[in-house]
Symmetry: C2
């Protein structure tokens, strides 16, 4: 009992050291920026180790990005694919969480500035992921939808549903078509999965719930710059995805780029114009630049070049993980793919390296990749085999449920998926508009 109280007191004092921001001489302090796959996994591996750990993220939760498109399509709730960081680390005395945004790194002083104040570090881990890349096109950035946060996914969901409601009230034929047609830009996993889900909504939901709209008039366009879909996967996977989507009625436009979108008309580079109120931009990502790092730290897509210990080349006490890291080795000359598996493996590697000090370099083990296009339809590339169809789809479901954080989330997603499968229905079509009012700031 006395021991417990003493331990509690010590942990409280330690915590106050964090608050006052005085480095603790006894324990090394690691600051992780980003609670995504990389940052979250690393923190989990370091919990209750003799390390001071500060995890900062803009949000108070971990987000499971691969399923954002299902949130957008009203198939899953944000809470089923998000997990509160504080809850995840309830039982750790060595981890402090701060909802904060990184503003600058002071490499000389080993200090970062955030919107919530400054934090000293012994080691700094940058695991901030990527953001949508609009390739400098401000107009598209302003008018198009993207899917890089749960908030954006919910916003897209609301917009799709609101536009259906508007279409019902619209007597002008042209304008009605604008409300119901959708253009997706980018034929990677997000674009393909979204197109498939939209096509199924058109097929199964619209005829039942929007009887006054002729669902055959809903056009879904998928514009891909390259000559195949799913560029990160095998040729076969891309071809199968194309076949699946065409069967579902998606108009796949290959070898074309979207030049402009003003909120009303998409202009493709062959001069075609597609009128629509919703363009979903899934055509690329890049990393945020970090103030305080030299320009020559970055390679293509603003990724940070690291050595095989995942350290920045010029700053060995700063690490980059996941999408933000660029490690070129024999097998991956152009860096690893920006996927969850790389982030998770790098995080696990780093924790092991820090704890066991084996002095080995990171080596990525490709476990395969997969994408789903709709009911019973998926493509899977494993290192030694490729397959598609129902079993690929089952494997996709299994892998995604297994990767979710939190047992309850797994159950809820599983029930939702079973439910949707049996009823041919995603049942979360709620337009919950955020409550708005003037916010008040307290004064002292």
């Amino acid at each position: 009992m006395l021991l417990k109280v003493t331990l509690l007191l010590i942990s409280r004092i330690k915590l106050h050291l964090y608050m006052l921001n005085i480095p603790d001489s006894k324990y090394e302090r690691i600051v992780i920026v980003g609670g995504g796959f990389a940052g979250f996994t690393l923190a989990k591996k370091l919990q209750n180790k003799p390390i001071q750990l500060i995890l900062i993220d803009k949000n108070n939760y971990h987000q499971f990005q691969p399923l954002f498109y299902q949130v957008a399509m009203a198939g899953l709730e944000p809470s089923s694919i998000s997990f509160p960081l504080r809850k995840a680390f309830q039982n750790c005395d060595n981890i402090v969480i701060r909802v904060a945004e990184l503003q600058e790194v002071k490499t000389e002083e080993k200090r970062i500035l955030t919107d919530q104040g400054e934090i000293y570090y012994d080691k700094l881990v940058l695991a901030m992921g990527t953001k949508t890349n609009f390739y400098g096109n401000k107009e598209i950035e302003e008018k198009a939808f993207s899917l890089k946060t749960v908030a954006e996914s919910l916003y897209l969901r609301n917009s799709i549903l609101e536009d259906f409601e508007k279409a019902l009230m619209e007597k002008n034929y042209e304008l009605r078509q604008k409300y119901i047609d959708v253009v997706i830009v980018g034929g990677g996993a997000t674009g393909v999965e979204l197109a498939g889900a939209l096509a199924e909504m058109k097929q199964y939901i619209l005829p039942k719930e929007y009887k006054e709209i002729d669902s055959k008039e809903v056009d879904i366009h998928l514009v891909q710059a390259g000559d195949a879909l799913l560029k990160g996967m095998s040729k076969e996977a891309g071809e199968t995805a194309l076949k699946y989507l065409q069967k579902l009625g998606v108009n796949v436009i290959l070898n074309k780029r979207v030049n402009s979108y003003d909120g009303n008309n998409v202009v493709v580079n062959d001069g075609t114009t597609i009128p629509c109120t919703k363009v979903i931009w899934a055509a690329g990502v890049h990393c945020r630049k970090v103030l305080g790092l030299d320009e020559d730290s970055y390679v293509r897509g603003n990724r940070l070049a690291v050595n095989d210990k995942l350290q920045l080349l010029k700053h060995p006490s700063i690490y980059a993980l996941g999408d933000q890291a660029f490690l070129s080795d024999e097998e991956y000359e152009h860096g690893h793919p920006q996927v969850a598996q790389v982030a998770i493996q790098q995080a696990k590697y780093l924790a092991k390296e820090w704890i066991k000090k084996k002095d080995k370099g990171f080596k990525y083990k490709d476990l395969g990749s997969m994408a789903t296009i709709g009911r019973n339809k998926a493509v899977v590339d494993l290192p030694k085999m490729k397959f598609k169809g129902f079993f690929a789809w089952i494997l996709w479901l299994f892998v995604h449920i297994q990767s979710l954080i939190g047992f309850k989330n797994k159950i809820f997603v599983l029930i939702n998926w079973m439910w949707n499968y049996i009823t041919y229905d995603q049942s979360l079509r709620l337009i919950i508009k955020p409550f708005k009012r003037s916010t008040s700031k307290p004064k002292t």
Copy 2:
């Protein structure tokens, strides 16, 4: 097959009649305003009857108000207690849904104006429920929180969690207290249930997730104007609720009113000032007035006086249901309580009366009332007995799950409650801030 196609064609034509807003000579057209307990139940009872039915609501979903407080306390997701109207009426060919807001009633022309256009009616049913009554205090209206929509409930949830995060970063003691203290105004079911849930969050969650905040310093005040809690229930229920809340550490202040709140300080009518950033106003409701109805249609709280057929006294083709209706009979001289049971019974009565034409007046059958204060703690008043404690709590859970719309919602709420009960934890503490950007309007 041919029959099916013909029927489908006829239903399509009928639907187009709705769209073009030409009254159909063959079927009577009923317009229901509001998809709450009253409007939703009435529409359900009239589905697939030889009646043209138009259901309008501001939202595209039915909301289960009794559990808003659990959404606010991160115990349930909005989607678990909301149900999309279009989904609920997927299989009805006689019901058209419009997401629209009533603006005016033209009683002479039997026509309503909405923000989405005008609609003719043969019978009009007003079932618009209530909104928060701030008794004319604009400042409180602007600064306080209330719980009359799921959007407001989510907003409160986000604010509570954000304020805990702010408190962590706040070095000034006074200001920190402001962020963590909460004042609830109103000792009815909402106020009591919210206070109980907050007290449990303080007890079970804060010590685990906000270790740097001393949870004993979190003060929850419940200010009630009357001399007892739960005025709508028995004296015993109010006393038990008081005892339960005090045991949970809630500071219940009876016989006091809140005079003002400027976003920083609550001033009670005895002069006491409580500094806090969150005041939750649950001190009363009133109805919206409907443009086009005479002033003398309204009684206390803007309720519409109706006869025992639920018709407005001066307009027999307009009906009022639920919270919005005021029916005075021998037993309920001052009108029925504004609760779900009355709304549901009135809706059922009206549907029966319209279909079977029995020419009987509405009679309310009180089935009892209940409120929960926390784990294993509830009070139940049945017509013939009163009880409290664990069995009351079980009954409360059962009745609420049973009343939810949608089988999946029942399952999800049940799992959530079982989960929370076993783990002492509500696990939905996600601050999902709405995505914002400049919206674009399409042009023709």
